[in-house]
Amino acid sequence: MRRSHSFLFCLGLLAGLCGLIFVHASLRRQAMKPGLLEKERLVRELGLTDICLSTEANYTRHLTQADFTTAFQDHPLSLEHFPSGTWIRPGPRSGYGNGQGIRPAKKHP
């Protein structure tokens, strides 16, 4: 077969497979729906606030519950020594109460 033909064929195949990625993903999402619903139910029933991304430290396991000071609980000069701390940022951006001052109520769109 002519070189350009075989190349274009392979390229077309690859491109087609990449297109199939989206189809496969869609089908997979459908198939995983029950699992997703189960997880939602668990979050609701158990009142979970975080998903399990890392079990290294309490502020990487429950990042939304941790404060900026949580990492320092061991020692004021505690340097970050958990690798997951490099990509998990603890604590929500703003909180109400406890020395942070009362923030004005946000207008939600």
Partner: protein
């Protein structure tokens, strides 16, 4: 029209012959390119899928969480606080939660202990997540020893397990009864870990939160929207690890493109001269260079993308696991639901294919506009 196609295919024929001439070098280039795309796309797929799933799942999280902080440390919440919150206007539901961490010295893993509101396991039994089962190689009926606050050993039977499908939320969970939890954690019976509050009208959330904070000044109030926002910020490109990955990938790519952009060698120049001498126009030569860039770019991109998808959504992001694990022992198996952002894929395409093709064509420009007669000399 057909002639246009034929011209493209003819030139592509020559381009492919040309690439095959330096077969190993071009194969190495394509491999590096594929690797870069694979890495970037894997990170892209992984982070987007997790963020998407987190936002879906945690939309079910408690609307308001109230925790108590003393000197910057989490402190148990007295039950009396529940009463003080209960009569705030707008509060619909309220409950004190019991949960905490347990470090298992046998395997060096951290578990999250949770006492559910209803349907708690009987005293002496627990329900464990798949990650815990893996860490301790547990089968139904096996016993785990927990050290209590008093210094005794409490043996609990792993009667039930969370499904593997729910690992993303339950992997390290140990569900147990309130009595067992209090025995292990040594907490007093009139204290809870924190309080979860439900509100009748979602628009009143902020107001209720403010009131709670005002009534209980030693507490910290967390809204559900803040929980969701936290997860939007995960895998932010400024996070140390991601910066390194991205910088590394970019560096590799720049080196790739540099190799192309640093101009043509004398042999390549001569070859272009020959092509012009035998009747190729400047546009034909540039087209050939375009196809040269495209052939490597497109095939590497598609291949890298495919591998990344397989890696993240079929192979559980196996290559990231050691990185994500860090010092920990327990890590969930990431059976992610494949949420994909097509815009991100398109962006990756343009950010890799376009610069590379440009880097291939531009340096050839000067060589391709030479007078054909230069090859006569």
């Amino acid at each position: 029209m057909a002639k246009g196609f034929d011209r493209q295919k003819n030139i592509l024929d020559f381009t492919l012959s040309s690439l095959l001439r330096r077969k190993w070098k071009n194969l190495a280039l394509a491999s590096v390119y594929t690797l870069v795309v694979f890495l970037l796309a894997s990170v892209m797929f992984f982070s987007y899928a997790i963020k998407r799933e987190a936002s879906i799942l945690l939309a079910n999280a408690p609307e308001i969480t109230v925790q108590r902080l003393l000197a910057g440390r989490h402190s148990p919440v007295p039950l009396a606080y529940l009463d003080r919150i209960k009569d705030i206007a707008g509060v619909q539901a309220i409950r004190g939660r019991l949960w905490g961490y347990y470090f298992d010295p046998v395997v060096g893993a951290n578990y999250t202990l949770v006492v559910p509101e209803s349907g708690a396991p009987e005293n002496g039994t627990i329900r464990v997540g798949a990650g815990v089962a893996r860490a301790r190689s547990l089968l139904a009926g096996d016993m785990i020893e927990f050290k209590t606050a008093a210094g005794d050993i409490l043996e609990l039977e792993a009667r039930e397990f969370f499904s593997a499908d729910s690992e993303l939320v339950s992997s390290d969970l140990v569900l147990l009864s309130a009595d067992d939890f209090l025995a292990i954690s040594g907490g007093a019976a009139d204290m809870v870990t924190d309080i979860a509050v439900g509100v009748r009208n979602p628009r009143e959330l902020a107001t209720v939160a403010e009131k709670i904070a005002a009534r209980l000044p030693d507490t910290r109030v967390i809204l559900r929207e803040e929980i969701l926002r936290t997860y939007d910020a995960v895998f932010n490109w400024r996070g140390g690890l991601l910066v390194i990955i991205l910088a590394g990938a970019m560096l590799a790519f720049i080196i790739l493109a540099w190799e192309k952009a640093s101009g043509l060698g004398p042999e390549e120049r001569r070859e272009i001269g020959i092509l012009k001498a035998i009747g190729w126009e400047t546009s034909d030569v540039l087209l050939m260079k375009f196809w040269e860039g495209m052939a490597v770019s497109l095939s590497s991109f598609f291949f890298g993308l495919l591998l990344a998808y397989i890696h993240v959504f079929t192979a559980g992001s196996g290559l990231f696991a050691p990185v994500l694990k860090g010092w920990s022992v327990l890590l969930p198996e990431f059976r992610l639901v494949p949420y994909i952002d097509a815009a991100q894929v398109a962006a990756l395409f343009f950010l890799t294919v376009v610069p590379y093709s440009v880097a291939t064509i531009i340096p050839a420009w000067r060589a391709s506009i030479v007078d054909p007669d230069s090859v006569m000399r």
